[in-house]
């Protein structure tokens, strides 16, 4: 437990050190601090005994924060949250390293807020207490809003405010739902307690109508963060306006808080509600996949394209989660990690050429393979990973999510009935084809083809504020991308250990679902043939 706290506290302390030290040391201090945090978490993961147990470790509850109100400082990980925390801690130093030349103004504040953001995300993943989770989850908004609002593009204010308000509104509902479960727990047991396991145990015993609303309220909060289809509009703008490091952490870690919230809260706490609403969520996910893919197709702004592709990919992830069988859930969790790696890397790549050309417009820019061969290698590699080329990491997650959706039928022989089935999988599969199309078009435009550079060639350090960058990637930038590339390759070739580790968690999350889904299906099967058309005709005749 000490190591967990250490990994959470170190970035905050580093931010404090940065605040009082001169700004020329800020970036190195920040890098060192984030590495230390990663080291602490890696050490914890190395000794993590519960990889295949599907339960929390450490088991002991932490000290009470507020006596009588049940808020405690319990932290611990299960496999899923540990993987996501590792992803966050792994990307933090890389983002900082990647920002060395991009951030030239208000440097101290940037690294300070960035480290605080990292801590906050780690706290949310590590929390075993619902209120502690909420504190981490909600506080991420403050540094992220400031990072977008201070260091973003021309529309940064709008983007920051939109992001803040969407997420804040959603999470207020989530907070009310969590407090409600806490209250039910208090009625049942006589004491306030916000331990996640205890809350889950209470919540699954609630009547199904209550669970329905509970699920809906939790879902509103997490759906904004994921983001699910009608609530996604804040994301492209935020991604577009955020500085590179902000985009990376937003795509890789912050959005995962939404899917993680579904995995940890919405699905296990309210299985009756989840079973009733799963087809709604699944349909919304599929709409997100298709709709975002179509937008990507016509998008000329490279960063916005990746942002929309992120919506599509997370739609697939949600679909896997709501297939409500182990295959889909494993795939979804696996995909969370891999989407974080490949999309994060794509944002880094785009940030790198943006630093050189100050444009993201694919109509103006093209054929960079001639100018930046090393960068192009990475770009192609990560795009293929994102498309889901077999052998790279994206493939495994996508395949499992789609497979899980495919077998989620009424009479599934996996023991996990569902309402999705092949048609859902086929429509969602179209999204993958779209993904290949728009990402390859993107590659074709900016990597290959004749060299097109913006007028008044800014590639050679004519921008006064930024120090001159080499025309191709420097060592520092390679050092940023290389670890992610290795991770992508390794997870693509060797997914088995990780999937084995995720599997017990997925089964534990789904433990209540087969029964609930069967109940919902039994209730909905006697569908009388509705005379919709005839009744419409009769009403039309009346006037």
């Amino acid at each position: 437990m000490e190591l967990i706290w250490l990994s959470i506290i170190i970035p905050v302390l580093t931010a404090g050190v940065i605040a009082i030290s001169p700004s020329k040391h800020a970036r190195n201090t920040a890098f060192a601090g984030s590495l230390l945090s990663l080291a602490a978490l890696a050490l914890f993961a190395w000794n993590f005994p519960a990889w295949k147990a599907g339960t929390y470790f450490p088991m002991t509850a932490g000290a009470h924060w507020v006596h009588g109100a049940g808020v405690s400082l319990s932290v611990g990980f299960d496999t899923v949250s540990l993987l996501l925390a590792l992803l966050t801690a792994f990307l933090m130093p890389l983002c900082i390293l990647g920002s060395f030349t991009a951030i030239t103004d208000r440097v101290k504040e940037f690294y300070g807020w960035f480290l605080v953001l990292g801590s906050s995300i780690l706290l949310a993943f590590a929390a075993r207490d619902a209120i502690l989770f909420y504190i981490g989850y909600e506080f991420t908004l403050v540094p992220m809003t400031l990072i977008v609002a201070i260091y973003g593009g021309t529309e940064r204010r709008v983007a920051a405010i939109k992001m803040f308000l969407y997420t804040f509104l959603g999470s207020m509902f989530m907070l009310a739902a969590l407090l409600y479960v806490g209250w039910e727990h208090r009625i049942a047991s006589g004491a306030w307690n916000f331990d996640i396991d205890a809350l889950t145990a209470t919540a699954v015993r609630l009547p199904s109508a209550t669970q329905y609303w509970l699920f809906a309220a939790l879902m509103i909060g997490f759906a904004v963060k994921v983001p699910l289809f009608p609530l996604h509009t804040w994301l492209p703008l935020a991604h577009d306006q955020a500085p590179t490091a902000g985009s990376v952490i937003l795509a890789s870690a912050l959005l995962k808080l939404g899917t993680y919230g579904n995995y940890r809260f919405a699905l296990p706490m309210a299985p009756a509600g989840g079973a009733e609403l799963m087809n709604v969520v699944a349909v919304l996910s599929i709409i997100a996949i298709i709709y975002a893919s179509l937008i990507c197709w016509v998008q000329t702004d490279a960063k916005k394209l990746i942002a929309y592709s992120s919506i599509a990919h997370l739609g697939l992830c949600m679909l896997g989660l709501f297939a409500l069988n182990p295959m889909g859930a494993e795939g979804a969790v696996f995909y969370m990690v891999n989407h974080g790696l490949s999309t994060g890397a794509l944002f880094l790549c785009i940030g790198m050429f943006y630093e050189r050309y100050h444009t993201k417009d694919t109509d103006v820019l093209g054929g960079l393979a001639k100018r930046m061969p090393v960068w192009s290698c990475f770009m192609v590699f990560f795009t293929l990973a994102s498309i889901g080329l077999p052998g790279l990491n994206g493939f495994v997650g996508e395949f499992l999510c789609l497979g899980g959706t495919f077998i989620a039928e009424h009479d599934a022989n996996s023991g996990y009935p569902g309402v999705l089935g092949p048609w859902y999988a086929i429509v969602a599969g179209l999204g993958l084809i779209f993904a290949a199309m728009y990402l390859l078009i993107l590659l074709g435009k900016i990597v290959w083809g004749p060299l097109r550079e913006p007028h008044g060639d800014v590639s050679h350090g004519s921008h006064a504020a930024a120090p001159a960058l080499p025309s191709d990637l420097g060592l520092r930038e390679i050092a940023v991308l290389m670890p992610i590339a290795i991770a992508c390759l390794w997870l693509g070739v060797q997914p088995k250990p990780m999937l084995d580790a995720i599997s017990p968690c997925a089964q534990r999350m789904l433990v209540n679902y087969p029964a609930q889904v069967e109940r919902v299906m039994a209730e909905s099967i006697p569908v009388a043939p509705t005379p919709v058309i005839t009744s419409m005709k009769t009403t039309l005749k009346v006037p």
């Binding site: 009470h64 924060w65 507020v66 006596h67 009588g68 109100a69 209120i131 909420y134 504190i135 909600e138 506080f139 908004l141 403050v142 809003t145 400031l146 609002a149 201070i150 204010r157 920051a160 405010i161 803040f164 308000l165 804040f168 509104l169 207020m172 509902f173 907070l175 009310a176 407090l179 409600y180 806490g182 209250w183 208090r186 306030w192």
Partner: protein
């Protein structure tokens, strides 16, 4: 008679300290030596600190039991709270009181008068008003309650008028005075009806009498109307909906250091009075004893009263938040935000004895710290010798005054209820209390309102930190005195530091109300053997 008097007197030691302080300050304010006059705020602080120290020694269990109070231990928490906030409120007014007078002299609008350059009366009225708020905790009958509330308000009318120059403070003071007088009439009428129904002025007797009525045919209409009138009258003090209209004008017109005072002290006093009155009425099974001594199972406040409180809560938070959305003046926006926060606080009143009152006082602590810090930051800067008013004065404040910019931003985040600041904890305990009282609808209303409030608080947070400096904000300078800035920084740090200590704080609130209900039932048993 002597035996029954002495514990009551002992409980009044903090108030006496403040009274002595007020007299000393008023007299020393006439001194010819400038250094003596400049020491006045610190003498005021000393009186406040002395009263804090006096509370634990004098407010013992024995004394409290002997005084036959409705909530015997309440003062043990509320008095130090008021005095501690008072210290920061004094510090945030250091310098500004004399400075305004000096400006008048410099502009030739006032002949130079050495006696007036540093004035004692502001601090004397300050102490008297706080004293009134403290006296409320000792109220054992309606007359005392009335006098204490009026002692809170009367000095504030004068503070609004004398604290600044120009016509706006005067206009604000007149408005505040007349509306305040009207509200006083309303709740005094309510007191009269309550007396007519129960036949007594003593709160304990009123409580038992109302309990008897409730156990019979329900509380009679005379008492109900009386209580409703009292609620409406007190809404003025807490800036809640039917009586909230004055707040934006008065808060904007009053000098900032007085606005800070108005946003905390009368509100705390008003809520304490409401707690006392509603304790007489009684919440769930609380203090409900039928004539034969059998406890009556009784859920929540009587329907008309809880319905009115419900409407007050929802309308107050909604109108406050919607009003705040439309403002361009920072102080007006904070006035509306203060209205909205009163709406949240009424949740605690509805939730009732135990958790509700605890949550209410916890939220008052949080609200006090956040609001005082915000106003202190605003009082610590000025533009061309005038108060900060519009958002464009604050744009890019961090370039020239980073500390104040950060304090304003932190407080804005705390006010919106962002974890891990103290405002978040205040809010979740209010929600928890509302859940315990089965008020799901109110929680949803409060949740939606919090979301709306995000809109304007985010603006308050982003403008000083993110916006580029405007032409107006280039002229913003720090006020000559460093004390407002100190108060802002200390209170700003407290918005974070207090959330680490929120458990301790909650425990303190809880003991002050827990022992209250325990001994309340004890005294009522002695009344009904």
């Amino acid at each position: 008679m002597i035996e029954s008097l002495s514990p009551r007197l002992a409980l009044l030691v903090p108030e006496m300290t403040l009274f002595v302080g007020a007299v000393v300050v008023a007299v020393l304010g006439l001194s010819k030596q400038r250094s003596v006059r400049e020491a006045l705020p610190f003498i005021t602080c000393a009186a406040l600190i002395a009263s804090i120290v006096a509370v634990p020694f004098t407010w013992t269990d024995d004394n409290a039991q002997g005084a036959h109070l409705l909530l015997p231990m309440l003062g043990r928490f509320v008095k130090p709270l008021l005095a501690a906030m008072g210290v920061w409120l004094v510090l945030l007014s250091v310098g500004s009181v004399d400075r305004r007078m000096e400006e008048l002299i410099a502009r030739g609008r006032q002949p130079f008068d050495a006696q007036k350059v540093a004035r004692g009366e502001y601090y004397a009225f300050f102490l008297l008003s706080l004293m009134g708020a403290m006296l409320l905790c000792n109220a054992h009958d309606l007359i005392w309650l009335f006098l204490a509330i009026e002692l809170v308000s009367l000095p504030t009318y004068i503070m609004v008028a004398v604290g600044g120059n120009g016509s706006r403070p005067q206009e604000a003071a007149v408005k505040y005075f007349f509306l305040g007088a009207m509200s006083t009439a309303v709740f005094l009428y309510g007191f009269a009806l309550l007396y007519g129904s129960t036949g007594s002025l003593e709160l304990l007797v009123i409580r038992d009498s109302l309990a008897t009525q409730a156990a019979g045919n329900g509380i009679d209409s005379l008492a109900t109307i009386g209580i409703v009138l009292i609620l409406l009258g007190l809404c003025f003090k807490i800036t809640a909906v039917p009586m909230h209209f004055y707040a934006p004008d008065v808060y904007e017109g009053a000098p900032t250091h007085v606005t800070a005072f108005l946003s905390f002290v009368p509100k705390t006093a008003g809520f304490t009075a409401l707690v006392l009155i509603l304790t007489c009425v009684g919440w769930t099974g609380h203090a409900l004893i039928a004539p034969d001594g059998v406890r009556v199972q009784y859920l929540g406040l009587p329907t008309p009263i809880s319905a009115i409180l419900w409407m007050i809560a929802v309308l107050t938070m909604t109108l406050g938040n919607l009003g705040a959305l439309l403002q361009t003046s920072v102080k007006r926006m904070l006035a509306y935000s203060s209205i909205a926060h009163s709406g949240y606080l009424v949740l605690g009143l509805i939730a009732g004895a135990g958790a509700g009152i605890d949550a209410l006082y916890l939220y008052l602590v949080a609200y006090g710290v956040m609001t005082i810090a915000t106003f202190a930051a605003l009082a610590a800067i000025e533009r061309r010798g005038e108060e900060i008013n519009s958002f464009s004065d604050l744009a890019g404040l961090r370039v020239r005054h980073p500390a104040m910019a950060w304090v304003i931003a932190l407080c804005a985040l705390s006010l919106v209820g962002m974890p891990p600041f103290i405002g978040f904890f205040g809010k979740i305990y209010l929600f928890i209390a509302a859940f315990e009282a089965n008020q799901l609808g109110l929680v949803i209303a409060a949740v939606l309102n919090s979301a709306v409030s995000g809109l304007y608080y985010l603006r308050l947070a982003l403008v000083p930190l993110v916006s580029p400096p405007s032409a107006r904000s280039q002229e913003v300078t720090r006020v000559p005195s460093r004390w407002p800035q100190t108060a802002a920084i200390v209170c700003g740090v407290a918005t974070i530091a207090l959330s680490a200590a929120v458990g301790v704080l909650l425990q303190a609130v809880r003991t002050s109300t827990d022992s209250a209900s325990a001994s309340a039932s004890h005294t009522s048993h002695s009344n009904h053997p």
